[in-house]
Subunit: 161 residues, 2 copies
Amino acid sequence: MSENISGPPPALMERLSYLLKRTSALLEATIEPGLARLGVSGREFGVLTLLEAEGPASQQHLASRIGVDRTTMVALIDALEEKRLVNRRRDPSNRRAYLLEVTAAGRKRLRDARKAVELAEQEALAPLSAAESVALTRALQRVVQTGAIESSEGRATTAAS
Amino acid sequence: MSENISGPPPALMERLSYLLKRTSALLEATIEPGLARLGVSGREFGVLTLLEAEGPASQQHLASRIGVDRTTMVALIDALEEKRLVNRRRDPSNRRAYLLEVTAAGRKRLRDARKAVELAEQEALAPLSAAESVALTRALQRVVQTGAIESSEGRATTAAS
DNA sequence: TATTGTTATACTCTATAACTATA
DNA sequence: TATAGTTATAGAGTATAACAATA
């Protein structure tokens, strides 16, 4: 009947796993509203980013790149296609597969979404100096890079958005 | 039929949200096997840590501290109680509530689990220098601390383990 | 009337198995 | 026989609603 505005548990603030999960959730919560106003989810933003960067690709390719099953990809692309942000074209050289491509509207939407995401990222990183933010990003990049190499000898790990 | 050992998409490696999610997933994947061998999940480890640090507490208190619903807490405590790691005692001053407490076996298990977690954390952070690891932890702590303050004016965000 | 723990239930997310059309 | 996309379905995880005991 008193201490209800708790704040994060000090006992967990030294646990890197907790810090990462919580920071990730925090950033996602900061990002999602902005993206929602633009009519895309975090994951859709990831798919659009990937598709623009790595050219026309099949659903399967995209799925493996993003770390989800190909069956999960179906609904994702369904939604993006319905919003006219992505196009399904048959691959002439393999008519089982699609060549997915970002539409003009999709590229425009992606630019706006990227701005919204970058704004949210800056907001979440407000307590850090510019140099610290860069250091954080670089550190995470190295961990992911190394971890990805090692886990390619074992099971694959997920993550989109 | 060639580029199958992909690695992380460069297009997403500048996205902090992606880096955080992926690092978090990577670390969790590194931690879980070690904890599994000790018979606890990541979330159970979090509950034990919290309970040891913040003394006897009710399920509701614990749930709000960890950011889950009180109904979710029931099964969690059921499992910990069945393993004799946590004890349910009625609160004499409020017989609706429990006073949950870590058993002696629970404290022992927690010590072992903490060692396993710290080992996994070091493994995941191997590509960073000691100074960089500390900087990463400190940076995340500040982001979480600040973010927690701001989101207490809005909705609560989750994260356990 | 409100609160703690509980259960039943529904919802979300994701993967596995099985089908189709292509190869 | 294998592969790309699809569908149906099942499993994990979580929350909402409703109930009993207590306040």
